[in-house]
Structure formats: structure tokens, C-alpha cells
Subunit: 512 residues, 4 copies
């Protein structure tokens, strides 16, 4: 296992202080009316802003006016900065796809910005991708061996060129894109949520394990009466258009949530609406494996997965945590804003009043350049200030959603103690992170994860807490399944980073 982890580090070369999200995708299609305007691009732009938490490095939108000459705008940075009035004015078209990419290191350049666009023998093709191909190396070798030059290391280019290539057995050489997509899904079973645009249609594809989220919505400009959420009668209303998004939090006002794209499903969207083309199942004996950390950490609290609101799951996690690790205290609060929902649940279950313990210093981000010893002390935890009213003289419980490296919890505890807290109890609303992810989440290396530290037993002591407890894996799974609404196929969640059980196995190059 150590070798695998080592390779993982080598490939990335980046050391982040937390987990990083892995991209958001969005697609929208209207009808003839939208053809000569950039309305669709504007809807995509707003949608990408709502998915910005999934990636802040670069972003792009590609639109089609029905021909093979797509309009493309990509750039480094936030959606609001890349899409100026000027760049938006170049994005006419009645359909389009967009992408927002996660932030990593200095190596990141606009070359890697998605969607990735190529001209193929059967017309233009644009691809936006969330996820990570577990067997990327094997697929990459196959593509290179066929004589294709690859200009980046990105999975998106790899997927795009793989879709263009005639499969070795020559079975697919015409413009039958669903066949090409099916073929790709057999080559590479996880993980991805894809939107693929041709000149007159969009395919939305989720990997057979359903590892990454993807959902369908409806543009209902003329109908403002229904509830923002899942509602039985929405499908009956005539649509002005359709949207696809990584999370339902991207469905704002005129775009309404309909349903998730099923694991393995290929949905084709045209002017005539969405149509399920196929559903590719997991290999025999393999369960579904939706990433459980989307519930815990990545997704916005208002997003809906598997029929339930993420906020609700997090409240259950907090309740479960209170059951597993109760403690007497005067007040329960959270590290804003990641622990808010769990703190609410803990408070409800324990009957300990909830209150704010820390104020976030929104603008204080900058640290010192060439700090002296005098200044170095200021560098940590400038981000939060204790709220004396709720802390001084109190026994406090502080809830957070997760601990990755453990280098921020210590300074926060110190802050609370200096502000006069009598006791500080830390409760983490997820189990300890122990293993790397090969399906799209940028988790630090094994050595860096505090849960793998030799003295993990004594972590409470180390960070200066009176007590520190994690939610159990079983507790997390219970919280996730409590209100689960969808029970179609054999339900399952990917808990690889917690348990080391990888749903699709390890990448080829990591086996030994």
C-alpha cells in the first residue's frame, strides 16, 4: 500500500491543507427561440457560480448555434471574473456546456481549462468532466499507442480523444456517439459525471457506480408557482428548456430540480427534451458507490442526492455524534460554516443550547511576507475571532465536519481557551480520513493525514482539547441511509477514504 500512496504523491506533487473538490459541470439546452441570444450562456454562467465551491481555478463555457463552429470562452479564475460582458457577448447559441475546475498548484494553466473541444471526423465535440479515471494510465497508453498526441495530462482530453478514436475492433466508426460513449464506459468504469456536446445535442453521462453526482432540471420561465424542490407535478408543466448540473444547488429560480441522472445512465438532450439512451450497469457483484464525502464535505447543504437534502444528512450526523459521544457542556457551536448543520443536530439530540463560538474574519486572508519571529505568531488562525459572550466561562462543544491534517483545530482551541472557555470538547461529524482517493478527490498523502499519525490515540491531548471524538463509519452510513428515498438498485456508497475498500479496485499501476 505504501507504494501506491507514494505514487499518488509523485503524480500530484501538491500539498493542500484540506480536501479539494473536483470540478462542477453544467449544461443547458433551449429551443429555437434562444438561438440568436446568449440567454443559455447566461443561465450556464449563473449555474457555474452556484457550483463555484467545486472549483475555483479555471472555468469555461462552450455554446452551439447548431453548427460545428462552437463558441468557446475559457479562462483562469472565478466565474464572475472570466465571464465579462464582453466574453458573454461571444456566447450566442441555443445550447451549451460549462465547467468549473478545482484549484491546485502553480502548474495550473488555461490549457487545462474545460470544456475540452475538438473537431472530429464526425463533427465538433465538447466535453466537461467531473471525476477521475481510476485506470487513466492504461487508457492513456492505449490512446497514445494508436498514434494520437495528447497535449495535456488531463482526463478530459483523454476522454475526448478516446471518444473520437475508432475502437480497435472497428465496431464503431460512424457517427454513432452513444455507441462510442458505451464503449468508453466499458474501457473506463469510474469515475465521471460527463456532459458531452455535439452540434445539435448534449449527452449527460454518469459512471456505472454513480460515484460522482449529476442531476436533471427544467427551465420553467413562465411558471413561477411551484415549490423550489422536488414536486410531483413539475414534469407535467411544459418546459422552456433543460439543464444538467453536478448539484441541484445550481437550480436557481427559473431552473427546477427534476431528478438525478441514474448511475450508468446516458441521457440525450435535444430541442425535444431529455431521453434515456441506455443504462450501463456495474460489473457483476459490484454495488453502487456514490461518494459519501459529497454528503459530509463537498456538496452545498441545499443540494439533493438520492432524494434527500444534504443539510438533513448532516443534521443526522450531528444527532448520531451526540448519541455516540455525549458530553456535559453549556453550549454547542461549530467551526463556521462547515460544521453548522451537524452542530444543529448535536444540539437537538443533546438539548445543549446552540450558539456561535467563532466569528469568521471574511477579509483576513493575507499572511505575512518574510515574517519575522514577531509576526509569525500572527499567521495562524487570523481567520477566526472568538465570541466572548458565548465562550467566556463556558464549557463548549465545537463541531466540525472533518479533520484532514489537523493543523487548524489546535490554534482554534487555543483561541477559545484564551477567550476564557472553561472546557473545550471537539466533536467531528465524520470518521477519520485514512486512505487516498483515486476517484476525483485530492486527499493528502497517507503520512500527512492526522488519522495515520502514530500518536493518533492522543490526538485530543496533542491539539489541546479536553476531549476529541469522531463519528463512526457505521454512524455515518446510518445517517446517510436514514431518510434515503431511492431504493432502486442495490444501494451503496464509496467509503474508500475511510475504510480502504475501493469500489472498482485500485488503479492498474498501483497493484503489486
Amino acid at each position: 500500500m505504501e507504494k501506491a500512496l507514494k505514487n499518488k504523491t509523485d503524480n500530484r506533487g501538491v500539498v493542500e491543507s484540506g480536501l479539494t473538490h473536483e470540478c462542477g459541470v453544467f449544461a443547458a439546452i433551449g429551443n429555437e427561440e434562444w438561438e440568436n441570444s446568449n440567454e443559455i450562456a447566461q443561465i450556464i454562467m449563473i449555474g457555474l457560480q452556484a457550483l463555484q465551491h467545486r472549483g475555483q481555478e479555471s472555468t469555461g463555457i462552450v455554446t452551439s448555434e447548431g453548427s460545428n463552429e462552437f463558441n468557446i470562452e475559457k479562462g483562469m479564475g472565478l466565474v464572475k471574473n472570466v465571464f465579462t460582458n464582453e466574453s458573454m457577448s461571444r456566447l450566442n447559441g441555443y445550447m451549451g456546456i460549462g465547467h468549473t475546475r478545482y484549484s491546485t498548484s502553480a502548474k495550473s494553466t488555461v490549457v487545462n481549462a474545460q470544456p475540452f473541444v475538438v473537431h472530429s471526423m464526425h463533427g465538433s465535440l465538447a466535453v466537461a468532466h467531473n471525476g477521475e479515471l481510476v485506470n487513466a494510465s492504461a487508457l492513456r497508453k492505449q490512446v497514445l499507442d494508436r498514434g494520437v498526441g495528447l497535449s495535456t495530462y488531463s482526463d478530459s482530453e483523454l476522454i475526448t480523444q478516446a471518444l473520437c478514436l475508432i475502437p480497435p475492433d472497428g465496431e464503431v466508426n460512424g457517427p454513432d456517439w452513444p455507441a462510442r460513449i458505451r464503449h468508453l464506459m466499458q474501457w473506463a468504469p469510474l469515475s465521471y459525471s460527463l456532459v458531452i456536446m455535439l452540434k445539435d445535442r448534449i449527452y449527460a453521462v454518469r459512471d456505472p457506480y454513480g460515484n460522482r453526482p449529476l442531476c436533471l432540471g427544467k427551465i420553467l420561465a413562465s411558471t413561477t408557482e411551484m415549490v423550489n424542490g422536488y414536486s410531483d407535478n413539475i414534469l407535467d408543466k411544459p418546459a422552456d428548456g433543460w439543464v444538467i448540473a453536478s448539484e441541484s444547488c445550481a437550480f436557481l429560480k427559473i431552473t427546477k430540480y427534476i431528478r438525478e441522472i441514474e448511475p450508468g445512465e446516458i441521457v440525450e438532450l435535444t430541442k425535444n427534451g431529455p431521453k434515456t439512451i441506455d443504462i450501463i450497469c456495474t460489473p457483476e457483484g459490484k454495488k453502487l458507490a456514490f461518494c459519501i464525502f459529497e454528503y459530509v464535505y463537498f456538496a452545498r447543504p441545499t443540494s439533493i442526492f438520492e432524494g434527500q437534502e444534504v443539510y438533513n444528512v448532516r443534521v443526522h450526523c450531528g444527532r448520531q455524534l451526540a448519541l455516540e459521544h455525549p458530553i456535559e457542556a453549556d453550549i454547542v457551536g461549530s467551526v463556521p460554516e462547515s460544521g453548522n448543520a451537524a452542530a444543529h443536530g448535536y444540539s437537538l439530540e443533546s438539548n445543549i443550547p446552540q450558539g456561535e463560538l467563532l466569528a469568521k474574519n471574511s477579509y483576513v486572508g493575507r499572511t505575512f511576507i518574510q515574517p519575522t519571529n514577531r509576526l509569525r505568531q500572527m499567521n495562524v488562525a487570523l481567520k477566526f475571532s472568538p465570541i466572548l459572550t458565548n465562550v467566556r466561562g463556558k464549557r463548549v462543544i465545537l463541531i466540525d465536519d472533518s479533520i484532514v491534517r489537523g493543523n487548524t483545530v489546535g490554534p482554534i482551541i487555543k483561541l477559545l481557551r484564551k477567550a476564557g472557555a472553561k472546557e473545550v470538547h471537539i466533536r467531528i461529524a465524520s470518521p477519520p480520513l485514512k486512505y487516498p482517493c483515486y476517484m476525483g478527490i485530492n486527499i493528502p498523502t497517507r503520512d500527512e493525514l492526522i488519522a495515520n499519525a502514530k500518536d493518533f490515540e492522543d490526538i485530543a491531548l496533542k491539539v489541546g482539547a479536553d476531549s476529541l471524538q469522531y463519528l463512526s463509519v457505521e454512524g455515518l452510513v446510518k445517517a446517510v441511509n436514514k431518510d434515503l428515498k431511492i431504493k432502486k438498485r442495490e444501494v451503496g456508497h464509496c467509503t474508500a477514504c475511510l475504510t480502504g475498500e475501493y469500489p472498482g479496485g485500485l488503479p492498474d499501476e498501483l497493484r503489486w
Copy 2:
């Protein structure tokens, strides 16, 4: 009165959707050790970030190395963008002052960025200012009539040139800066908190009414043991340097809160520490008039005014609101994050559980360009999403700190109703805003204030609430005074925007 309000509009020409803060000031002084580095500038830069909520338009830092050639860096935008490694490298010096300015209209340019610096007959002078001169027009005429050309409309330039000018009676013509400051304070009694830097000293000045906040802190690099807050024994520890800030929330880690600058106080800071030079009293019969809206709205919750934490006052406001306007409900929440503390107070007093009702969409700021009818609907309330878990099927109380124009509360109520709220009760933790401010707060004109609308009685109906109630003026004053620690002189607060009672009278040009 109407004429006054009209003039006010003409002068500003800007229509904002809320109140705007009016600047933050910061000053720091070290000793010989700091002379050849930019450590002081770094401390100021961090301090300005913590005061960024008081102004995001432009910012500047001016440092002195002991000579009349100050180092000056100013620019448009946020502190973190203006102060790059490159600009910081030009800010050596053992003392300096900084400023962050509020955002208004397109007219705003770097010319207006503070601190304002001039060469005078008695050496260089840098001034940073928070507040607004009530009698600016009269003072401006006096300065122009003396043959001085003014390059901006800013009060800061006016104050700076007034300090340089020989008073008409010739009483002050030498380099006696305290005398010049005293003279200015008689010419212009409110409102301002000033930091004034000469080559070898800084003056911190608060107007006689104490209308704007200003406080003193200590740099204690070598002592990290004390509580972050007010502590009796801090003054006994040897200081590495001293700081002045608009709010104590700017005292992070190595800088510790000591006390407020008194109303009318002139403090001189040199390498040898702070010294009170003089205290100028309000005119006979005039009470102190600290802006009550700093408690309600402007200040960060962790700041300390008059011996109490702002958060604490806001909790009392929420409690008082629960007493004044109780209602049966299932959950009480806030408009994040402005109503958080008051919601906590309301929950404590009413025993109705507190919970999050709305998630903030941090990145969704951009609106549509040339929106069609279809898109126009998306423009409002993209900023918040309802949290179904806490809203659906519930009777909810939504707390906010204030209503200015009333154009956002309506869409939020609609959002909650569409998400399935059974009842929506709005509670505002401050009284209705009715009058303009001439002391530094940019309040919309009388006509625009919803509290002055003809149908204000029916406001609940208008915005679609089941009920809507405000805290009373008496209730607010009670909340503010409940834990007040400082009782030196006749305490008083400026409530002009709520009551129309202006502590120093109306500006000259507004009387008729």
C-alpha cells in the same frame, strides 16, 4: 426638512441598496528595532483587512522612517489586492497609518483614496479619517477663501488643509500641532475619528461627541499568555509598540485591546508610547453621541465598545425583541449572517429552537446583462437558498438586524414560502430607519426608506409576511445600556436616523 433631504441626495447622487459603512482607520508605531523593515506596514495591512467591512472601495498605507519623506501606497479595491509583495516592499518605517474607504459609485477614484498626505511649512502630514464633517460646507468656504485650492470634495483633504492653515487670528503659526488640532476641533465639532501622522509621531483624535469609534491597543509580540480581550494586567506588560484602530476586532493575535480613545481626546503616540494631550468636551449641555448603529449594524460582532462586546448587545436586542413581539413558531433563524446574534437572543428568550433557514450562495453575485423577461426573474434572491430540512412545513421566525429599503425581504419571504414554510414571521432587531445621517453613514433618502412609505402600516402585507415587527427605540437603548461598563460622563447615543434628534444640530446649509 424635505429640502435638507433633497440636498443630501444631490450631493451624493448615489442610490445604494443598504447602508454603507464609512471607512476604517488604523495606526501603528514601534520603536528603533522596526526602523528598517516593513513589519509595521504588515501589522497595519492585517489590521486593515480586519476593518475591511468598513470600506472596500480603496485603501492606503503611509509609513514614516523618521523623515519628512513618507512612503505612500494607495489603490482602488480590497486590501489584499492593493498590498502586493511589491507595494509592501516600499513601506519601510517604524510607524504608519492606514485607511480603508467605503464603496460608492463610478465617480470613485484613487484621487480620493486616503491617507491624504501633504508637505506643510512644518513638515509632512498624513491624515486618515472616519466620519463626516457636519459643517463641511462652511469649513470648505473658509479654506477656499484663504486662497487654498482643493483637489477633491473629500473631508480628509479639507481637514488636512485646515490643519496647515494659519488660523485667521494668527494664534497658531508654529509647529504646535496639538494647538492646530484643538483649533480644528472647535471649528468642526463632529464627526470624526482621525489618525494624523507627522514624521515622528501620530495623533489619534476622536470628536468631542464620540460619534465614531476609536480604540487603543498594544503590540505584545513576546507575551502570548493573556486573554484576547480586556484584561486588567495588560497595561503592566512592556509593549513592543502601540496601535490605534476604528474597532477592536482589528486587534488580532499580537495586538491587544487596551481601551477606547475617549470622546474629544487627543492622544499622542511616539516611540515612548501613548500620552493624552487634551480632552475637548462637547458644548455646554450636549450629551455624548456614540452612533447606536455601530452596535446594530456596522461593527463586527467581536468588537468592544463602551466596555461590552457588540455580539452581546445584539443578543440583548434579540431577547428584547422576543419580549416586545412574541409569536408562536417552530423555529427561529436569521438572514445570514447579519441577524445571527439577534436570532440567538430571540431563541434564548422565547425557547423556540434556533436553526438555519437560508444558505448563502457565496459565489453567486453576478446578475444578467441585458436580461430578457425570462431571465429577469432570476435576478432577485440568487443570493440565498432555503434549507428545506428546517423550512418545509414549519412556522418560521426570520430575524434580521434592520430593514433599509425593504426590497430584499419580500423575495426572501417568497423563497421560504415556496420551500414550504407554513408561516413566515419577520422580526427586525432595530427600530425603523426614518432620517438621514450627516455624520458619516450613507443612508438612502427619506423617500427611499421603507419606514417613510405611506403604507408602512401594511408593510407585513406588502412583503408577504404573516407578521412583521420592529424593536422599539426604547428597547434598543435598553439593550445597549444593559451591560454598559463605562459610566464616566453623561452617557448618550446618537439615534438621529431613528428619531431625527441630531446631537450637534443640522448642517448649516440645511437650516432654513
Copy 3:
């Protein structure tokens, strides 16, 4: 023929006011000493600046440190703006290639910036290209049909992917790059001058017709005694490294001109120096076809082609023009600086004194936004001011190198007349441009070329000249051949734009 021209327009969609140069390439290779610095990149950067006249749209440098991870910096704009200290600091390596691209329309983006880099099955590959593939469409179809997606319309990407692809007959599948290059040269015989970099070597390739220029130079840092120019004994001196450039004007100070790359030659440069791998001949019966407009218009006057300085050829053109079209006059001058050398020749041959007639207004480039009628008059010919001393009361001959659309000569004549010229005689040191170029020069469409205008006979009248004469095609060829030093193979020059005789035939899609 008309259809061909129409297609040409459709493909480009751009209307320029003159001819546009078609890119410059540069390559440099040192030895072990250079490995850990960016010296090679600095030499390339200076070289690209000297080639900047061949393209100002975008530029790029790619360096190799000996591994397959190339360092890549590309950007829009001038060399001096793209290559900052920061970007240069990322360009370590002991060899590299660079490119500067011509400026076209708003469609131009950084995606098209060269060098083009891909990972292939046999390692990384970077390609920079000057020229245009006559049979691009056919080659493009072949590549797409093999299942490769192309992300741009650029010939460079096409060349790169064609090099990666296994030829259909499977003859080349190993890492034998010379074989792949040879194969490409058979697929696409013109036009290109290429530099192709692998991890440990660079190939310099010139098309069999020698249509675009390319030459070899030597880095002689330690030897500063020889003449800057062609010198017999330079090859005997030990080299510090080797360079390749589109024009010898790029050999400045420490880099010395050695010789041209021969038409069809493949030169391999390694740490051990340059080696001719192969020379591919033109098809049976086809002459060499070096672009005669490089002499007339594109190249810098100090560049050396076929053993002679470009300036010298231009002086001969001016002399020949004086012989073909003599006229009595008081002074002969040029449109600065394009006509300088020819004016010198005309003056020498005619014994009419040479003098400056026009001063260039270097900074006046900007035209009016939304001009009124009043302003519209100022828009033309702001670029030049007449020099009264030499114009007033004089009969002037004005020499220019070429006329493309003829829309600037008219206003210049008007300017001279208003300044008091008695007579204005225009002499053009090249023949009329009549036909499009498919080999890398962006010539306007047939309809836009003034030489194709119906009233071309009356052009002197139309532009307001007392007379206007062109050099004959024979005269131009004579001038070019007068001092020609290289007589190896059957010499020939491409005069297609003047005569319609295309050396390699028309592009496939244009035949019908």
C-alpha cells in the same frame, strides 16, 4: 479560379489593409553547461524579438532539460510583453524552440499560439511552423479519419498529429522521427520551415521547394573577433551552441550566420552539433520556389538569402525601376521605411538627390471612436507628416515597395500636394499583386487587390499622382538574380502572387 478565391476568403474571413507576414521560428541548442539555467531561453527570446516583424499576435518558447517534461510559456502579444522575468524563470533547459505568430482578427486566441506541444507514444514533441500547407484540407481529412480529434484549425497541430500517427501502411511505428518527417514531407510538399523538438534533439526542416526561409547559425560567445556576416573561417571555430532562425537578422552579436538550410533538407541538432539527415527533392520537373516577396516585402533588410543581403536586392530593384520608368524630378524619397532601399537605388541610378519627404508619427496610431463627420477626415494618414523643406515647390518621386489595396497611397499624395509639391510621381519597386497565395502569405482577395480593379489602367489618375509605375516581373527577377551567390540546383523563385504560376499547383479543394 474565382471559386478558389472565394473559398480563400471564406476560410480566412479577415480583411487586412496590407500583407501579413506568416510567422517566425527560432531554435537554439547548447551543451551540458547550459542545463540548469535559462540562457538558451534568453537567446531564443532575443532572437524572437528580432523576428517580431514576422508576427505580433502571439509568441511562445518551449525548452527541454533533457526529459519529456518540457517547459512551456506562450501568450498573446509581443515577445517583450509575454516573456517577463517571471515567465523566463520557468524556462530552464539546454535547448528550446520559439515562435512568433502573425496578427489577424479577434478570433485569434492563445490556443493557436505556437510551439504546439504533445505527448506521443514515443515521447514529447514540440513543433513550430512558418508557412501554410497547400494541401491542408486533404491532410486534415486523413488525420480526422484516423480518429484523431483536432482542437484547432492550425497547420501546426495538423503537422504534429500527422507526425505522431502511424502511417496507414504501417511502415513507421517506432521512434524513428526522421522517417516520420520524411513521410510527412511526401504527404505535404509545401510550404513550411519547421523546427521540431524532442527531449534530446531538434530537427530543422525546410520544404522541398524551399518556399520559406530557414538558416543555421553558431553561438560563439568566446570569439568576438569575426565579422558579423558570412565569413569563411567561422565554421572552423569551436561553437558554444547552435541556432536555427527564419531569417539571419535574428543572429545578433554572439550568434553568427553560417548558412541556409537547403530546400528539402532535414538537419538534426544535438549536443554534438548539426548533422544533415536527408535532403528531399522537389517532384520531377519542379523548380525550387523561394518566395520572391521575402525579398520585396517581408524580410528585414539585413537578412541574407541565397548568399546576398536583402537590402542589396532592394537597391537593385530601385535601380531597375529607374531604368524602366525614368522621370525628371528634383528629389526622390520613400514611404518610410519600407521604400528606403529602393529609393536609394533609384537615386543612385537616376542621379536625382535622395531626401526625406515624410516623417512618421510614431505614436499616432489610435483612430477615433464613433467619429463624427468632422473627425472622420482626420482618420486617414495621421501616420505621416510631410517635410516641407524637401517637398514645397519640388517635383517629387515617391518610392514604395508595393501597393496592395491602394488605399493609403492616395491620402499620402494629397498630403504631399497640400504641402506644396509641384509634381508627385509614384514608383513601386515590385510588380502588381494579382493572385492569392496558398503558401503562407495572407494576401487580400482578388477583388480587393487594386491591380485587379477594372480601372487599373487609370490608377495614377485615381490616386491623384502625376504618374505611377510598377517594376516589371522580369525586372524584379533580374534584380534578385544579379548578385545571387548560390547556384547549386536549378534556381527558381515563387512568383505566384504576381503571375498566377503556383509552383506546387493549387490546393486540392481548389481544383475543379
Copy 4:
């Protein structure tokens, strides 16, 4: 004298490799028709581009729509970059003034950009200035002593505040601006060319010595028939508006040269046209002192001073140089483009044919970062390439307009020799520069001027020339006066930098 020079160095702190121009001013006034557009601003912008050679550091335009609220746009950099469509759109008004400032050091900031604008007791005031106040220190002390704070060290702010101040004797306190200008002219007799804008008029002012140039033009949009130059009947045509410029080269197409502003003249421009208000004479016994280096070096060749074209004077300088320092040679050329006119004169007088010796490498400006020894050799003279055709085997005469430090002529001579020149003779078309200028030209310190070097006798040897000769002071004066058309008052030219005879004496602080 040494002290003076030292002070000069201290004040500037900048070491430039040549002389630097000292600003250009431009003003334009139209009539009612122009009120609601930015046409006047566009004319100013084009005019500033034509004056860009006088300063590239910063630029600004201020326009008036008839009220005291001026429109102001200023910025660092070139005119074409500062005045975007967006900034131009904010410059409505029927009159305005503009400025372009010279480039110095890193200390330069937008704060110093002109025009300088203030509100005074008698309305708004904008000032743009070319020149340097010889007695700036004394005037500065006077202004500071009156209690005015000065925010910069610029003469422009000083002039502006001096205009606003009530003179000590109280003689001018009303809005009599001409009286205030007259008063300033007595306080500060040189040097300046000023444009001063009030809400409804512009004053154009030239110092009594006429040290800096300034001229008047006419906007003749509807009349395009006359000669671009001085013409007797232009004044008879009805004007669309009027312009003022530092040099007549700024009068392009629709703006026509009328006459110079006389030394000491105050011209008032209103909607009704220009009117001479007063002419202030030099003190008794003092001659006029127009800067002779405007002819030699600064001005554009097409500008007209004292009734003659600058190019013409430079040709005379070249002729005179040929008479004073003849030499046998095969070709005479110039350092492009500064020596072009003089080379033309030398050729005409000597009958030695003129020809280009050097090609300018327009884009090669960038030098190496952290150059190694190997690279350092490339740093000098990248700017020029020898033209072999005219140099090889020839005896060449190279003409330049001046030598300042002498650090570029050496490398150029080396370049010519390496290119095969048999002999290289340098002829400088002006006398040696020996003394500093206090009237607006940034001349290096005495020690840096090559003409003050100990071994100046052997300069030819030092720089490697076969001979090197300067024009004599008498020869220069003769060339300037040869075709002089204006003989009104006692003509005189400032030759201080050549002779040390300062027309108005030395600045106060330099006397000892």
C-alpha cells in the same frame, strides 16, 4: 559650480542614458455644437499622441462642459493605453486641456500626472505645464509659508496653488485670473508654457523668455483645401474651434497651424476665439531665450518654430558641419532616425552620396535578466544592425544629432568595423553638452557628460573612430538663424547647456 551640479543630482536621483524631453501640452476649444460629445477630447487625444515624443510616463485630459465640475482622466503610460473607449466616453465637453509627461524613475506615480485640477474660491482650475521653474524652491517656500499643504513636488501643483493664493499685498483677490497669471509671471519668470482652464475659458501662457515652445492653431473641419503649414489666408477662414500645442507637429489634418504664442504672451481662448490679453517682457536687458536644443534634439522634424521648419534647421546644421569638418569618404549616413536631416545636409554640402548604414531593430528592446558573461556581450547595440551593402569596404561618415554620455557611439562604431567598414568618421551636428539645464531638460550630471571627461581630447580614439568632430556653437547659432522668419524683438536662444550662460541666472539655492 560643483555644488550646483551636486544639488541637481540629489534632487533628481535618476541617471538616464540620454536627455529626456520635458512634457507636452495641448488645449482645444470648440463651440456650442461640441458640448454634448467627446469630439474635443478626441482631438486632444490625437494631439497628445503627436506630442508623445515629449513624454511617455503619464498623460491626462481634463474637459469642461461649462460648469465647475470638470471631467478628468489621467493615467500612467502611453496616450493610446490610457485613453480607452471607456475613459474617452467620460470626457464630454466643448473644451479641454491635455498633457503628456516625461518618463523618469520608479518614483513616478499617477499622483504626478497632469493636468493638475483644484477647486478654488473662484471656481475650478486645471493646469498643464511644460518647463521647470528655475526658482521653484523660493516659490515653494512662499506658498508653504502661507499655510498651504502641497501634496507633490511638482511645479504644476505649485503653479496652481500660487494662482489660487491671494498675493501678500492683497492686490488680487477677485476672480481676475489674468491679473493672477501676471502676478505669477513676475514671481517666476522662467520656464514654462502653460495651458490653464477655467470653466468657460482657457489661458495659454508662455514665459517672458519664450524658453519653451507653444503655438496656436485653428480647427477647420469644413475647409480642407489649404496647405498643411503656414498660409496667409487661413486666418480669414471661419474656424470651428481653436487649439494650443507645444509643437505644431500636433496639428494634424483638421487642425491648422496659425502662429506661435509670443514669449510672455497671455492668450485667452473662449467660444469667441483667441484674444491676446497681455505680453509680459523679460526683465530689462535680458534677451529672449528659446531653447536651442528644441531645434537640435527634442522637436519633431516637421514642427515650426520662429517661422521655420525644424527639419530645415537640422539640414543647415549638417551643411555647416560639412563646412567645419570635411573629410573624404564614400558614403554618409546617420544614426536612425535622429541624424537623418543633418546627414542629408552633410551630403548636399559635401557631395558625398547619402545611404543607410544601420537598420533599427524596432522590436529588440528587452535585455537579459541576470546575464551571464556569455550573454552580457549581446546586451549592447542589439538596437542596430549594419547594412552590409553600404558599409562593407567603404569609408563611412556617420552623423548623429548629439552625444550625451558617449556610451552608445562606441559599440556602433565597432559594429560598423566588424561589418567591414574601412574608415568610420563620426560627425555630431551639435556642440558638446557641458552644463546642466534648470529649465526643464533632464541632462545628466556634469561628471557623466562625456564632454567633461578628462580625456575628451582623445574621444575619437576612445570610441574607436578614425575621426570625431562636433559642430561649433557659432555654427549651430548660424544654422538656426539662417532662415529665421521672426525678427520682432531682440532675438536670442538659450545655449546654457553648451555655454553655461543661463538666461535668467541660476536658481536661488544654487548660488553661493
